[in-house]
């Protein structure tokens, strides 16, 4: 029988919220830059770009090998003065699950990528 220590949950929680979160933020920025870094908003390519961003992000997240289910959401919007609001709300176990949002912009577009990680 395995020994269970409640201290383990606290350490895992701390680990998730600090170490993993910062590595996920860098991972997402890397994926975004890799796909749309240096490009201008292009209606013909935008579909392909958003699909690439979510696929690459998800692949890298799964490679981390953590026992989590992931949802990756990416929104790209052309800069034209329109107002944009996004809100997220989650009903989960706050000790084990978490989320992370990265905002990126260049001269012609905004990109918002959110990752939700739910423990299995």
């Amino acid at each position: 029988m395995e020994e269970y220590s409640s201290g383990d949950d606290v350490n895992l929680f701390f680990y998730i919220n600090t170490v993993i979160k910062s590595s996920i933020v860098s991972l997402l920025k890397f994926c975004i830059e890799g796909v749309i870094g240096g490009t201008d908003y292009n209606q013909n390519k935008i579909n392909q770009w958003t699909a690439s961003i979510v696929e690459h992000s998800l692949t890298h997240l799964v490679k981390l090998g953590r026992p989590f289910k992931y949802i990756v959401n990416c929104s790209v919007m052309q800069k034209s003065g329109a107002g944009l609001h996004t809100a997220n709300s989650c009903y989960w176990d706050t000790t084990t699950d978490g989320s992370c949002t990265v905002r990126w912009e260049n001269r012609t577009m905004y990109c918002v990528v959110s990752v939700f990680a739910v423990a299995m």
């Binding site: 958003t50 998800l58 959401n73 034209s80 944009l84 809100a87 709300s89 989650c90 989960w92 739910v118």
Partner: protein
């Protein structure tokens, strides 16, 4: 003895969730036009009320609700989502709502516990 869960409880019911989202949007935003000063409150209310009604369904699910409101200005916008989960029990529901002055999109993701 393990608890017995019926198939009904472990399947994400898209129709129920669809109805909840539409009702919430009608209640919170209704016929209003896009107003910068109120959008923040609308998006917060939409996600909170959706989540409240989803949790009242009493199913063994964790939920993530995402609400996106954009002013109609001719700007282009694209959203993509990718999920790594259990296809047999987890699911999502997306509702797109278009008004004269704005686009609203609500996504609900349900993950079985």
């Amino acid at each position: 003895m393990d608890d017995y869960l019926t198939d009904e409880q472990t399947v994400f019911d898209v129709e129920d969730v669809n109805k909840i989202i539409k009702d919430t949007l009608e209640t919170v935003i209704g016929e209003n036009s896009y107003k910068h000063s109120r959008v923040n409150q609308w998006s917060t209310n939409v996600v909170e009320q959706c989540l409240l009604r989803l949790s009242k369904l009493g199913k063994p699910y964790k939920y993530i609700v995402n609400c996106f409101i954009m002013q109609k200005n001719g700007a282009g916008q694209q959203t993509a989502t990718s999920c790594f989960w259990d296809n047999s029990s987890d699911g999502s529901c997306m509702v797109k709502w278009e008004k004269d002055s704005m686009y609203v999109q609500v996504s609900v993701f349900g993950l079985a516990i």
